[in-house]
């Protein structure tokens, strides 16, 4: 990997200013994604993965606000863009796919309308050539008889099919980066595998970078180049997929890996991380993981800084496991 990465998120903070208090949904998160690379963004439910993705696209609604940090995308700081400039990037250079395919397509609009509008939002092309692109995108994600499918409504599709359509919409403008927010969690296992495989293939073919958001480390293993782990809105550790899976340094990543059923240690009882994710509302200073951490020491009431134990590896912990 040479040159600047495609996307570099640096010290991102996104807070919700609610009546009950400030919810620090994303609190100092940094990672980068190279061109054509796949980054796995991992963490438990509520750790701020989706909000990180929405922040990159400028889709945060009040009372949420990006309060600090940079999002450098191909030399542009996205956090400084006005609404129109951000809109020109959304769906064009950065696309997003959501978790629940039953909810992402508009139920009252035909598939062709929903793809064509995505094309025409960014390119001044005729309806015919927009349809041609739509057809092409559907074929790429493995949808047979695209012409017939284009005239259908979402309710005439299965969940897996709908997710394919959503992926086709994300691909249709040839983006540099796709943010996939747990796009297979709502699907059954065989379909999950197919979609995962196709997504990977299409991205490799077109050189599209991918941020794959998931809470499931086993999905990441065969997919990602790099992994970034989040906990309670904070960056925890990052590195190559081999580094993280084989030599996790942070106690939380280690706990996550130990709770995945593994291939070569059959019969070993699964270990669960004890305790629960803390409420983001009452989160004070210090390492947010310390209540559940087996390596915690008195020092952990302070916040650890991000360190770089080896090149390309970043970590936020006072007592990394060797």
């Amino acid at each position: 990997m040479s040159g600047d990465p495609l996307l570099r998120v640096e010290g991102l903070r996104m807070h919700f200013f609610t009546k009950a208090g400030v919810v620090k949904a994303v609190d100092d998160v940094s990672f980068s994604v190279g061109r054509g690379e796949i980054l796995g963004l991992v963490g438990e439910s509520g750790s701020g993965k989706s909000m990180t993705g929405y922040s990159i696209l400028g889709l945060i609604d009040p009372p949420g606000r990006i309060v600090d940090g940079r999002i450098d995308f191909d030399g542009i700081d996205l956090t400084r863009l006005d609404a129109a400039a951000w809109r020109a990037i959304r769906g064009n250079r950065i696309a997003m796919i959501f978790q629940d395919p039953m909810m992402t397509l508009n139920p009252v609009l035909r598939i062709d309308t929903q793809i064509i509008e995505a094309v025409q939002a960014h390119a001044d092309v005729s309806r015919e050539s927009a349809i041609a692109r739509a057809r092409e995108a559907l074929v790429r994600v493995g949808i047979a008889s695209p012409d017939e499918r284009l005239r259908a409504y979402p309710h005439q599709f299965s969940g897996g099919m709908r997710q394919r359509v959503a992926i086709a919409i994300a691909l249709v403008n040839g983006p540099d980066l796709i943010i996939a927010d747990e796009p297979t969690t709502a699907l059954d296992v065989t379909i999950q595998g197919q979609i995962l495989f196709e997504m990977q293939k299409v991205c490799r073919e077109s050189g599209t970078a991918l941020i794959w958001i998931t809470h499931d480390l086993s999905v990441i293993a065969g997919l990602a180049d790099e992994v970034c782990v989040m906990y309670a809105g904070r960056f925890v550790e990052s590195g190559t997929v081999a580094d993280i899976l084989d030599r996790p340094l942070h106690p939380y990543s280690r706990g996550l890996i130990d709770s995945v059923p593994s291939r070569n240690e059959r019969g070993r009882p699964l270990r669960q991380i004890p305790g629960m994710t803390p409420s983001l509302l009452s989160l004070g200073p210090g390492c947010p993981f310390r209540e559940r951490c087996t390596s915690a020491s008195p020092r952990c009431v302070e916040s650890p800084d991000v360190t770089e134990p080896s090149p390309g590896r970043r970590l936020r912990c006072f007592h990394p496991s060797a």
Partner: protein, 326 residues
């Protein structure tokens, strides 16, 4: 679609017959019209003659049977008071009522949907709160009171608007219409606003609730993630979804606006069916009451049918008459 229409027609027919029976029982119970119709000095012989002439000497079921036979050939009886066919009396007055209801509904829709959208998109803004406060007022102030205040202010104090009648009309295809003349429009303004107020408040709330729900949906976020303009996200993705319940309610309310224009028509002396009904009830003019209610029910049925068709056009998940028809 055809099978659906036929089934619908059958159901409607049944509703009409049932309705006519209930109405018949009802008006039978409210009193003997002969007492009001004949001269108080008249002797018994004359009363008996009058009773027989109106067909009121027959048993209840026989009267109903005579009515049904007449109804089958389009005859809903003759007005006791005016001695003309009850149906033609109503059809004479119906255009005025429909015009009033229609203009009121247009006002309610043209203002209610945009205001509801604004209130739904910016619920915490001053404008959003103001719109909601206004709609609460529109809901809770009684129609007749608002009507009287309107007359006090715009007719009595300011002298800007006339307070009764239809004003000048133009006859289009045999139907007199007020909204095509300047004078007619002046006459329409207050009664239409008065009648619209409640529906306007209803539409504001409905649109606002629908908008607030829709903007949280993933498909809206996904539409924004495509880089669509705010106008397209709201105008197409949000509006098309919230329009489904709104069209249903508009349809149902259009029926009730026609049926319940009575209060407004009485206040502004609008010569429509509502006023006719009140007069007929006072004079126990049974055939007119029965005919009025049947006409209104028929209108309701027709409007519901149109709403169902519109609904199926708006919502692709609904197909009339089962899965086969595309």
């Amino acid at each position: 679609m055809l099978a659906y229409a036929i089934r619908r027609f059958g159901q409607s027919f049944f509703v009409l017959v049932l309705m006519s029976f209930l109405v018949f029982v009802g008006v039978y119970a409210i009193g003997n019209p002969v007492e009001l119709l004949v001269n108080p000095q008249a002797d018994d012989a004359e009363r008996i003659r009058a009773t027989a002439a109106l067909g009121l000497d027959k048993a209840f079921l026989e009267q109903y049977w005579v009515f049904l036979k007449g109804a089958a050939s389009g005859d809903l009886g003759r007005s006791f008071v005016y001695n003309v066919p009850a149906l033609s009396l109503i059809l004479d007055k119906l255009p005025a009522t429909i015009e009033l209801a229609f203009v009121a509904m247009v006002i309610a829709i043209a203002l209610g949907i945009p205001l509801g959208l604004v209130a739904g998109l910016k619920p915490d803004s001053i404008l959003g709160r103001g719109i909601m406060a206004g709609s609460i007022l529109g809901f809770s102030l009684p129609t007749f009171w608002v009507g009287l205040v309107l007359i006090m202010v715009f007719s009595v104090q300011l002298g800007w608007l006339p307070s009764n009648g239809r004003g000048e009309t133009v006859t289009v295809a045999g139907v007199p219409l007020s909204f095509l003349t300047a004078d007619g429009l002046l006459h329409l303004a207050m009664p239409a606003v008065n009648l619209a107020l409640f529906k306007l408040s209803l539409l504001i709330r409905l649109t606002r609730a629908g908008t607030r729900e829709a903007v949280l949906q993933d498909y809206v976020k996904f539409a924004r993630a495509k880089g669509l303009t705010q106008g397209r996200v709201i105008g197409v993705h949000v509006l098309k979804n919230i329009l489904i319940p709104i069209v249903t309610v508009i349809g149902l309310e259009l029926g009730s606006v026609i049926a319940f224009a009575i209060v407004t028509e009485s206040i502004f002396a609008w010569p429509g069916t509502g006023k006719l009904l009140i007069d007929s009830i006072n004079q126990l003019d049974r055939p007119v009451i029965v005919a009025y209610l049947l006409v209104i029910v028929t209108l309701f049925i027709f409007i519901n049918f149109v709403v169902d068709v519109l609904y199926s056009m708006l919502d692709p998940r609904v197909r009339l008459g089962g899965a086969a028809s595309h």
